[in-house]
Symmetry: C2
Subunit: 427 residues, 2 copies
């Protein structure tokens, strides 16, 4: 009866009290509230919304439904969270890079599902890489190297895991309140001092419009600050893949290029911009330009790459300068024109179809397949010029089908499209 | 996946196609859609609404999830549905009254739950009265007497029964679309030519405001007409109980008074007004005044009462001129004033507490308890004058508690309140 009353209250657009939110989260965690009431509550939250106080309370209740990482050093502890996008490999670079600045980066990360790639899947392209570190292993590695990228443990925010499974089937995923609580409860379990959020917008992002992305950004930042973590954010473009590579091993290879201060400029620029935020938040630098120079130096002199290699090896991986990829094929422009648009959903699906992503949670992943985007939005191409290279060992029919799918995802136009900034709200 | 897409569509305020609505209703009926998706869908329907086409489709799909009564005579077939209110005993009078006009009235009715009384509970005050007639028994009785009041069979709109149980727990009861489909799918299973709806508004009704009641009325009438049934409606006052009696046996006794052309004027007036609608819809009369005169004549000359007695006996009941009641107690006015308001919820709860209603679906009902409202809104009372009589065989403590509860439900004011018409939209 109490559960029904709380659902009815939210249904009628009334603010829920902290006790009521705690009651729901406890009931989700211990299984005392049946699924059909949880999903109705979630739909009411989606339709009627939650105010910032309710969202912060929901986040804290979900955080407290599980354990947090213990403090294990005097170094400031920081992390980055991205709302996800094609080719986003910044985590792989940012974690070892910031570890060079006497910061701890305890990244609890996830696997890919659908078109969204997962940081853990990328790192598992290294034979032997372990994503199942126990809490004491995480602590020891942080003390020794300063960075860890491993899977979220079962003890972190169990309410979120339970709720997330229901949200997927009940069409309640795109709720700002529920997304915020889900992201932030897991990130806050890392016991952070500072967090930077990379909120993506565009055709390849969860939030397709800038307006929606801004609403999510405001909610995430507000929640982080309400629970006492220094939280900043960047709003970034996901109308085309970040960098050139989309896949697992190929993204790792591109990350290593960036760790050597090379690679595509957008990946380098975004990773530096996010890292600048965290150096400023932790007072490791007093200005953006100072932070930027220090970060570039750590890439150029090989300290970041060395830290990266240490992390891979500490987690059981066999480090390689370059991971092997599947056989190459090229998609060419059928006519001349300007690259105007990419269908991010469709590009992502092509990677899943090649075996590089998951349809279902336990599907195996082929790390060797992927895409290399040879042109960016605004580039002029001639007929017959290569557009996209893809790595795939399929049959001739499969290869042809993937090529067709990739080609259909690229729009060419007569005139150059309007330029979009990579970072909307650059500090 | 299809279910999730349909939920998402409604969540995003998009009209559902007939195929999508059929998919959901089939999934509810055969159990292939899990409860947590049904409840999320119901909440999305509540929050986003459905247009008249969707509501009519939903109604027809729910109707077709089960069986309908077969045609068994050439007489026009009619019924009345009330959205429920305290002291509403019009069904008991209307069914045998209309049967006198060569009409069939196959009332499939329900039991009470919470403060809402049930027509079946009232009739079961007659020892032996059966509410579980089989289809062939219903047909035979219609052919012989023209009226039946029995329980909805399990074969009628099974989708509604399944959905209703979930709606209660998931706080999705007050959806115009779902209420309409629930009411109309069950009524249309009677295979009617004409239907009149009594939509109540006020403190003792499900719809507390006139505006909400009007929205529900429009949806019910529109749906009836879309599926080809001549549908009319009255919007009536439920800010105070209808008639004087609230309970089971006591309402039956009051109905018999009305069947003798006596009883409280509001019960008589409303029953006649509803019956007029059906005589006009079936062209049994050419004007309201002609219909009214004919109906009063059937009450005055005893035909309606005789038909009522035949129906009670045909369904196994032992007919009695007056059913026995529990011991009487009187609540008096603590001061002088005008009766300004009744708290219908609270009056209803007092009947439940005396044992005259159900808290849970299978609770037994004490037919002998109830209330007699000795004053109507607007009446002037002096201190010490009787307000309400109640029938109850409880302990002294219980009797005192009920008396206190009833007294608290009556508001007295210095000046007379504004008069409210019993029937808002009288033809």
């Amino acid at each position: 009866v109490l559960t029904t009353k709380i659902i009815a209250k939210k249904r009628d657009s009334v603010e829920l009290s902290a006790e009521e939110i705690q009651f729901i989260v406890s009931g989700i965690t211990d299984g005392s509230i049946p699924d059909y009431q949880i999903s109705a509550w979630a739909m009411a939250v989606l339709c009627r919304g939650m105010n910032p106080t309710e969202i912060a309370t929901l986040t804290e209740c979900m955080l407290n439904s599980g354990n947090r990482l213990a403090r294990c050093s005097n170094r400031p502890r920081v992390d980055k969270h991205s709302t996800g996008g094609l080719g986003d490999k910044t985590s792989l670079i940012l974690a070892p890079l910031l570890a060079c600045f006497d910061l701890d980066i305890p990244m609890l990360s996830g696997r890919g599902l659908g078109i969204t790639g997962g940081t853990l899947d990328k790192l598992e392209a290294y034979p032997g890489y372990r994503c199942d570190l126990e809490n004491d292993e995480i602590e020891q590695q942080l003390q020794r190297i300063g960075c860890v990228i491993t899977g979220t443990t079962a003890a972190v925010a169990p309410a979120d895991r339970k709720l997330y499974a229901l949200r997927d089937a009940s069409a309640t995923v795109p709720s700002i309140a529920l997304i915020t609580a889900s992201i932030m409860s897991k990130k806050l379990a890392e016991t952070l001092d500072a967090l930077v959020l990379d909120v993506k917008w565009g055709s390849g992002a969860f939030m397709q419009t800038l307006a929606d992305a801004k609403r999510l950004e405001a909610s995430l930042v507000d929640t982080g600050r309400r629970v006492g973590v220094i939280t900043t954010s960047l709003l970034t473009d996901m109308n085309q893949p970040l960098g050139k590579m989309v896949g697992n091993a190929c993204e790792v290879n591109e990350s290593i290029d960036v760790l050597k201060a090379g690679g595509p400029t957008d990946v380098l620029e975004l990773t530096i911009a996010l890292s600048v935020e965290l150096l400023l938040s932790t007072k490791r630098a007093t200005s953006a330009s100072e932070a930027r120079a220090a970060l570039m130096q750590a890439l150029r002199d090989g300290r970041a790459l060395k830290r990266y290699q240490q992390m891979i090896e500490a987690q059981g991986g066999r480090y390689l300068e370059s991971l092997p990829l599947a056989g190459q094929h090229v998609v060419t422009a059928p006519r001349s024109g300007f690259v105007a648009k990419f269908d991010g959903q469709s590009l992502g699906h092509s990677v899943v179809e090649m075996g590089g992503g998951r349809r279902q949670q336990l599907d195996p992943v082929d790390h060797r397949v992927g895409l290399e985007m040879l042109q960016k939005i605004g580039d002029k191409v001639d007929a017959g010029q290569p557009l996209v290279r893809f790595f795939f060992d399929g049959s001739a029919t499969q290869i042809e089908s993937i090529a067709r799918q990739i080609l259909a995802a690229v729009s060419l136009a007569e005139s150059p499209p309007q330029a979009v900034s990579l970072i909307v709200n650059q500090t």
